[in-house]
């Protein structure tokens, strides 16, 4: 859902100006955006304005530097009121960015927001045809002509209103899930929290102290767990998995299976779903840096476990029966992988991303080793030290002061972990060899007893949920938001929100903030009685439908289209029926209907035909029509 939905509602107490005599000509306003140069550096926007002014029923065509800015929007609103416009075109960037913005401006002028057409002359003209200004300009004109053509065939539409079940499902009981659940519960919203394992807290249960507060992760987990367990608005299902999801924003039907014997599958309804499914630690492949070949090579989670299980009073750090005298920490294991340098993991996809938390974790652990076991030598092998967060740089400077020795390697030349030749075995069984860029590429070999692999984060294994909920994942495999700044916790399916590391690597503070950001979107959605959806859904013309059900077989969206029995002239017949909440307006049904009995509101066939006519028509004021082939 959009955060500014309310703007699409026409303002009350203002006359709706789109009521006009049936035969009166339309009054169309066209607004062309320079996008501060993004468009006007390529497209001759003044010529576009002059030309489209000649299109049928266009009464004004104006150019603005930033149509989306307040003065730009105000121009549109004022023109509607002062010049009695009844249709509006804005030619600017992708509708994905600003269709809602301009619908708001149109509404404030008292016009139905669907008497508006958005034309994308940035991505589709100026950016696509950067080196062909003439072609881009002609294309912009033709695209606007198409929109003007369509506007001769549109009617006011109203948003679809559906009841809103004021209850959220939070999938995952790690800190992101618990934070989101407790925030919503505190706001007075009912929450169902589902956790697949036996304990709340997720990966943090195994973490020990956390940076930069150096407090025990247990404290954080226990505080959040106490909140969710004691809040009367929260119901928790442990050892449970979401097995089926259907429905739509405001009205998702979910099935949850609990592992304990004898508990039937729970089916329930929620209005929003927060995905807090977290990450899984990268597990090196067998033999990667001798992992699983040599016992002295361990991952960061294994090392954290070793440190935690070593009593505070211990004078020596021992592993596998061997006293550890020298430790190497390797950064970027399973992160920042480069094509041609690293072996792809079994899924075939390189982890090209930075895991964000490993640098500071390594420095924190290196410091702990130096403090608890001052005789142990600590060697740190890094590409870039990324102690970016608040309080994190201190770990780097403290580690330097505490005698941690740093080596730096280029990503293209990862260090090699090898067995030390027998003759030098007393210095350490393993050695780490690299071309150290801190000493101008000198090849150095450091003997150690233990190598700790700074393993990063991998996307959680939630393929079933991704499939069920039709979620998108990015190239990195993590769940993908719609837009990192405009809609950072929303996905393309309305009503589903992302919280925490399900979306990508994050540290604890960032995870908690992301969970809050997801919760606030749910809270805003639940502040409304109804869920409002775009009216672009299929509609059946019962006078033409003959019940062949071709549309239903073509429909990709379960439940969006079905056959129902009804009485027609005394006979019981089957007819297609649309579920507006589930229909996405894709139009697959329209294409197969032999009787043209189904069409998508706002994108009807006659409207498309008008657009095609608009594109193909001669350009007004131009003697010869440029070849269409130029504008591909």
């Amino acid at each position: 859902m959009s955060e500014h939905n309310q703007q699409v509602q026409p303002q009350k107490n203002k006359p709706m100006q789109n009521e006009r005599a049936a035969d009166a000509p339309l009054r169309i306003g066209v607004y062309i955006c320079r996008c501060g140069g993004n468009i006007s550096d390529v497209v001759d926007v003044d010529r576009v304005a002059e030309t489209v002014k000649l299109l049928p029923d266009v009464v004004t065509a104006k150019v603005h530097t930033f149509a989306c800015s307040d003065p730009g929007q105000q121009t549109i609103t004022n023109d509607i009121l002062e010049q009695n416009l009844d249709r509006v075109v804005v030619a600017s960037c992708t509708p994905f960015l600003h269709e809602q913005t301009f619908r708001g401006a149109v509404s404030r002028g008292g016009l139905n927001p669907y008497l508006y057409e958005h034309v994308n002359i940035r991505e589709q003209a100026s950016w696509a045809h950067k080196h062909d200004p003439e072609g881009a300009t002609i294309k912009a004109i033709r695209m606007i002509a198409a929109a003007v053509g369509k506007l001769h065939h549109v009617e006011p539409l109203e948003q679809i209103k559906l009841p809103n079940h004021r209850r959220a499902l939070v999938v995952g009981g790690g800190i992101a899930g618990m934070k989101a659940a407790s925030e919503l519960a505190g706001r007075g919203i009912k929450v169902l929290l589902v956790e697949s394992s036996q304990r709340l807290g997720g990966q943090l249960n195994d973490r020990g102290r956390v940076y930069p507060t150096e407090r025990d992760a247990k404290e954080l987990v226990e505080e959040l767990a106490r909140r969710v367990r004691t809040h009367s608005n929260i119901e928790i299902l442990m050892q449970s998995n979401v097995t089926a999801v259907s429905g739509f924003i405001g009205n998702f039907k979910v099935a949850i299976r609990t592992e304990a014997a004898g508990i039937p599958v729970t089916e329930t309804t929620v209005g929003a779903i927060i995905m807090a499914t977290g990450f899984r630690p990268y597990v090196p492949q067998d033999g990667e840096f001798l992992y699983r070949t040599e016992p002295g090579v361990v991952t960061m989670p294994e090392f954290l476990q070793l440190l935690r299980s070593t009593p505070d009073a211990a004078r020596k750090l021992t592993w596998n029966g061997r006293v550890i005298r020298n430790i190497a920490f390797l950064h970027c294991v399973g992160s920042r992988q480069l094509d041609g340098v690293h072996e792809p993991p079994p899924n075939g996809r390189l982890n090209t991303y930075c895991s964000r938390t490993c640098c500071t974790t390594i420095l924190q652990q290196a410091l702990e080793v130096r403090h608890r076991f001052p005789s142990v030598g600590v060697f740190d092998f890094y590409r870039d030290i990324r102690t970016y967060g608040r309080g994190e740089e201190n770990y780097y400077s403290a580690a330097s002061r505490a005698g941690v020795t740093f080596f730096r390697y280029n990503g293209e030349e990862p260090p090699r972990v090898e067995l030390t030749p027998r003759a030098r075995a007393k210095e350490g069984v393993l050695s780490v060899t690299l071309n150290d860029t801190l000493t101008w590429g000198t090849e150095l070999s450091v003997p150690v007893d233990m190598v700790v692999l700074g393993t990063g984060m991998m996307p959680g294994e939630i393929a079933d949920l991704i499939e069920q909920m039709k979620l998108a994942t990015g190239e990195d495999g993590f769940l993908q938001e719609v837009h990192p700044k405009l809609r950072p916790v929303e996905v393309s399916v309305n009503g589903i929100l992302l919280a925490g590391t399900a979306q990508g690597p994050m540290n604890i503070q960032e995870t908690l903030a992301a969970a809050g950001a997801a919760a606030v979107k749910a809270a805003a959605m639940f502040a409304r009685e109804d869920v409002e959806l775009n009216p672009y859904v299929a509609e059946v013309d019962l006078s033409r439908c003959c019940g062949e059900a071709l549309c239903v077989t073509q429909c990709d969206y379960e439940g969006a289209l079905q056959m129902v029995s009804m009485e027609v002239e005394g006979a019981t017949v089957e007819r297609a029926q649309v579920n507006a909440g589930l229909c996405v307006g894709c139009g697959a049904c329209v294409a197969v209907c032999p009787n043209r009995a189904i069409d998508v509101n706002g994108w009807r066939l006659d409207q498309f035909e008008a657009m095609v006519d608009g594109i193909a028509a001669a350009i007004p004021g131009q003697e010869c029509t440029p070849e269409l082939v130029n504008i591909h």
């Binding site: 955060e3 500014h4 309310q6 703007q7 320079r34 996008c35 501060g36 140069g37 993004n38 530097t65 930033f66 989306c68 800015s69 307040d70 003065p71 929007q73 105000q74 960015l97 600003h98 913005t101 708001g104 925030e183 505190g186 706001r187 007075g188 507060t213 505080e223 909140r227 991303y353 930075c354 964000r356 870039d384 990324r386 102690t387 970016y388 967060g389 608040r390 309080g391 994190e392 400077s397 101008w440 990015g474 990195d476 990192p484 700044k485 916790v489 990508g504 960032e510 908690l512 903030a513 992301a514 969970a515 809050g516 950001a517 997801a518 919760a519 606030v520 979107k521 809270a523 502040a527």
Partner: protein, 442 residues
């Protein structure tokens, strides 16, 4: 949006700062039907972000992301905005925060001003435009910038020649030379501090000699040079308008250095340097572009891939510390660099014709001086809670964005949402407790 409010207006939330953090918090609160007052000390909302060219890692134009949020806030029925307004002091009693606001005179009656800019066109006095980082000029009375909100003229008393021409041409008699500062006190249940950041001075490291050459520029100036609607519409170096052929970015020029009081990482400089380098190589295909860095901190979603793309594009990354920048002949600069990339030649000198210094982020406002909000040793607002990272030391007062430490836009927007969530939960719980209290006593 209102430009004037009365003391009897009681918002549910006061948001201090109308940058991207404050606006996002305000929108997330207002969408829950809470009444929000945003106070902004500058003449327009939009903060730092509205002055940027494009933003990493998507390379969306910054205006395209910021202006709709500005506009949405300005039109939201639950949001009131006061610009040219500073917080003077705040005190908390019985859970109510009383905030004293100072509205600075704009010498323009905002209720009358229609933003026609006739005054601006008539004004004869110009001074370096702060929005354009001093590269262009602006009239002494002007609408702050193209997409400013509100679109109201503001008179800069410091530069005004008091000729009175603005008052003569104003069609609505909006010019008021006798305006006085106005204080008003707002009472509110909760506050979000979203006061953002400043950059430390470009001269903070004397060895970089920024005071001696106008071709050693802050990154914010490079943003304006790269903005399609910037002062020149293209990239020209300040001293002589030459098209630069060799641009250097000096990273950590105001951060990660205890000697200048900024030991921490400013978190955004690596990424904006890479972004500016990419945009530059688009604008100036023949120019050499070099980034001198200690560590490339491309940690966010899609950032590492962005960095690798920049390398593939041929942007030159040199690992090493720039020791000194010397102005030389023709307005050019000589960089003395100690690099670890070249064993034969570790001490290098490089000539460039434009140098961008990555200055450090420092707090824009110190609330600890006049409000109950405590700051940490780094000067940013302290966030002592383990579970609620947007809670400050003072109950009912929360923080979002760079006011709580350097942060990029993505992380700022997430934090702004989280702060809004915390406020709405806080208010809900507080008001439920009052209702329970009333039921018990009543």
């Amino acid at each position: 949006m209102n430009t004037q409010i009365n003391s009897d207006y009681v918002p549910d939330v006061l948001v201090i700062g109308g940058g991207i953090a404050g606006l996002q918090s305000a929108l997330d609160l207002a969408d829950q039907d809470l009444r929000v007052l945003v106070v902004e000390r500058n003449s327009s909302i939009g903060g730092r972000m509205i002055g940027l060219s494009k933003v990493f890692p998507t390379l969306d134009c910054a205006s395209c992301i910021t202006t709709p949020k500005m506009s949405a806030a300005a039109h939201h029925p639950n949001i009131q905005i006061l610009t040219n307004t500073e917080v003077q002091a705040m005190e908390t009693r019985n859970g109510i925060h009383s905030v004293r606001l100072l509205q600075k005179p704009t010498y323009v009656n905002f209720d009358k001003c229609i933003g026609c800019r006739l005054c601006e066109y008539a004004c004869d006095t110009e001074y370096p435009d702060p929005f354009e980082e001093g590269l262009g000029s602006v009239r002494a009375i002007a609408v702050p910038f193209t997409n400013a909100i509100p679109q109201k003229a503001v008179l800069d008393a410091e530069h005004c020649a008091t000729c009175g021409v603005c008052a003569r041409v104003c069609p609505t008699d909006a010019i008021e030379f006798d305006q006085q500062p106005r204080t008003l006190t707002i009472h509110t249940d909760s506050v979000i501090v979203a006061s953002g950041f400043n950059l430390n001075a470009v001269t903070v490291k004397p060895q970089y000699n920024a005071a001696r050459s106008s071709n050693i520029i802050p990154p914010t100036m490079m943003e304006r040079l790269l903005a399609p609607h910037g002062p020149y519409g293209r990239v020209l170096r300040p001293s002589d308008g030459k098209i630069p052929s060799s641009v250097a970015f000096v990273q950590c020029a105001g951060s990660r250095d205890e000697s200048i009081g900024v030991p921490y990482c400013s978190r955004v400089c690596c990424m904006y340097a890479i972004k500016q380098a990419m945009l530059l190589s688009g604008a100036l295909p023949l120019a050499d572009i070099t980034i001198y860095y200690m560590d490339i901190r491309a940690f966010g979603k899609g950032y590492e891939q962005f960095f690798q793309n920049a390398r593939a594009m041929g942007i030159n990354f040199v690992r090493g510390k720039v020791a000194r920048v010397d102005p030389i002949e023709d307005g050019d600069l000589r960089l003395h660099v100690e690099t670890t990339d070249d064993a034969e030649n570790p001490l290098q000198e490089h000539r460039h014709d434009l140098v961008v210094l990555a200055q450090g982020m420092i707090p824009a406002w110190n609330p600890a001086a006049t409000t109950p909000v405590a700051c940490a040793s780094d000067g940013f607002v302290a966030t002592p809670s383990l579970t609620d990272p947007t809670a400050t030391s003072a109950p009912g007062i929360f923080v979002a964005g760079a006011a709580a430490g350097p942060k990029d836009i993505v992380d700022t927007i997430a934090e702004a949402g989280a702060a809004a969530m915390q406020v709405s939960r806080y208010l809900h719980e507080k008001r439920a407790a009052v209702l329970v209290g009333q039921a018990v006593h009543g």
